[in-house]
């Protein structure tokens, strides 16, 4: 699993979660929670990837809360909003929008994938790099 293709905007940033999973050839749906509509079951299937983001001030977002994010119910933010997806066995790509822009400091991305015994794993992003890149964003129209 890899985080890649970060693009910064004044209001937040996008990135792509890349997943290669060659050992589940029977998979028919991407391993991301917003593909699962089973609201009758409170249990989250073990074969979806849990993804989270932590801001330097402690605020957090998770893709398990995607419905509230998509419906705009999560007004406090940050949100982790699924954008385009692509892929088929054994490779999947999911773009996410994270906003609003994080305050200065390190930003953590966290993943966990119980079905593949991947315990909670986090990586730290250089928050300054996101801000530097966002400063280069070009406002086409205002």
């Amino acid at each position: 699993m890899a985080f890649d293709r970060f693009i910064a905007f004044p209001e937040g940033f996008e990135f792509t979660l890349l997943v290669w999973s060659p050992n589940e050839p029977g998979r028919t749906l991407p391993p991301f929670p917003h593909w699962y509509w089973d609201r009758s079951s409170p249990e989250i299937p073990p074969d979806v990837i849990r993804l989270g983001v932590t801001y330097p001030d402690g605020r957090r977002a998770t893709n398990l809360n995607w419905l509230a994010d998509v419906q705009g119910l999560n007004r406090e933010g940050p949100v982790l909003y699924p954008l385009d997806e692509a892929g088929w066995q054994p490779h999947w790509e999911q773009e996410y929008w994270v906003g609003p822009s994080p305050p200065p400091g390190p930003v953590s991305l966290v993943v966990e994938w119980p079905a593949h015994h991947i315990a909670e794993t986090s990586v730290e992003l250089d928050g300054a790099a996101i801000h530097v890149a966002a400063a280069e964003a070009d406002v086409v129209w205002s």
Binding site: D4, L18, P22, P25, G87, Q89, V140
Partner: protein, 185 residues
């Protein structure tokens, strides 16, 4: 033994690697290339090529069309002409490239599924967007040699006339060396 207690079926095999001229390989971590080529930038319309990812076998990128006010109502049509007639859809989005060696490709051509083409291929293979924005992910095969790549787009239905831009082919070519083979297939 119950009716449904048949022995568990063995998992199906992984699908074969897609033909390299149609899609990026699914066993390679491609290299993101921070390039952006603005094709049209007016007071009402923005057309850019961005989000380049380089692979040993080619590169992919997104063509994004953003209208300032008018809603784009047409879908950014498929790469191939309607299957029944073979005639190109006059209003469809098309993308083309001219590689450094002068060879050319257009998304309106339909590449063979089984035999490796003897000319480059560009396909607009997946799209999306809503409201004032549409985008298409495009794949170019093969990886161009080190030199300028010319890009051309046209989308009559959205009043995007044939418009040319240039890509830094050297940056794409160099980035491909950073891509990683994950496993053999």
């Amino acid at each position: 033994m119950g009716f449904f207690d048949a022995p568990a079926p063995s998992p199906p095999p992984l699908p074969p690697l897609p033909p390299p001229w149609l899609f990026p390989p699914d066993n390679v971590l491609g290299a993101f290339v921070p390039l952006r080529t603005v094709l049209i930038r007016s007071s009402s319309l923005l057309v850019v090529a961005e989000r380049f990812v380089a692979y040993p076998t080619g590169f992919e990128f997104t063509v994004r069309v953003q209208a300032r006010e008018a809603m784009i109502t047409e879908p950014m049509a498929a790469d191939a002409p309607p299957p029944t007639t073979g005639e190109p859809d006059g209003g469809a989005f098309r993308v083309g490239v001219v590689l450094p060696d002068g060879s050319r490709a257009s998304s309106q051509s339909r590449p063979a599924l089984e035999d490796e083409p003897n000319a480059p291929v560009v396909s607009a293979y997946r799209g999306g967007g809503d409201g004032n924005e549409r985008h298409q992910r495009c794949w170019v095969w093969p990886l161009p040699s080190d030199g300028p790549v010319r890009l051309v787009v046209e989308w009559p239905a959205a009043r995007v006339k044939e418009t040319w831009g240039e890509l830094d082919g050297a940056a794409i070519h160099t980035a491909a060396e950073r891509s990683e083979l994950l496993w053999e297939r």
